[in-house]
């Protein structure tokens, strides 16, 4: 084999090596670019997921609040009913006490 032939063969091998490396670099760049797109999609999807979870959280909070309000109002109604019932039972006694106090006003006149 001539020297020229040898040089040509080596140059061909180096060219093929460059091609292999270039292809690998292109593939690597594509892989990194794909991962960046996937990362952006993940972050965006997380935002959507957070919005959905937030909506569920709001709904849950609203439900809890409605239950709490119903409980508070129900307890107040029950307390008012109890207050009225006691007042109905004790009205005569309370009136007598106040009438007695009022009658003592006359005593204060001296």
């Amino acid at each position: 084999m001539s020297v020229l032939e040898t040089v040509r063969k080596v140059q061909e091998a180096e060219a093929e090596a460059e091609t292999i490396l270039a292809a690998a670099r292109v593939k690597a760049d594509e892989e990194v670019a794909r991962s960046r797109r996937e990362a952006a999609r993940l972050v965006e999807a997380a935002g959507d997921d957070a919005r959905e979870q937030l909506e569920r959280l709001r709904e849950l909070s609203r439900t809890e609040e409605e239950v709490s309000i119903a409980g508070i109002e129900s307890a107040a109604r029950a307390e008012m009913a109890e207050v009225r019932a006691r007042a109905a039972r004790n009205r005569a006694a309370a009136t007598a006490i106040l009438a007695g106090l009022a009658a003592r006003l006359a005593g204060e006149g001296g």
Partner: protein, 201 residues
Amino acid sequence: MTVALDDIVDRVLADARAQAEQVLADAARQAGEILSAAESEARARTEAALARAAGELETEKNNRLAGVRLAARASVLATRRRLVDEIFTQVEQDLTRLPPEEYAAFLAALVPAEAARDSATVVLGRGDLARIGPGFPGLVAAALCRRRPEWGATVSRDPGEFLSGLHVHTARSVYNLALETLLAERREQWEVAVAGALFAA
């Protein structure tokens, strides 16, 4: 010579393939790190947003519930107050519905000793005069005379600007003995006892 050249060519290509594999491996690692970082960031953002929102929702809910509790308490207290008011109104009405002579005696007994030291004019409530009639000043004058024979008070036939009870006008002062005033003045002092009795278990 040919064998040596083939070795060189194989070596060049093998090196290139090894480098290519390394480039691809580095890219795969970098891609993995990018995805892992993105997942962490997404998770952290979601958790932070949810934690912030949960805190805000809890605060808003607690504020609204505090308002509801306050309103409920106010309703109960208003109910209690209205029921106590009814007792005060009832007793005021009961007093004014006493038989006229008895009511006149009650009013005469309200007049304090110091008011009876001077000559005075007694003014009666317009509600009492309207309800009992023109004879009422005479009944009150007689009751005052029985209670304090030495006192030369005059009972006016003109009604005062109050409903029931009386005002005593002396040279030095005016004694406001209107029932609504007397009851209102003592309301705070008496309503503890009245409410205690009214709402007893």
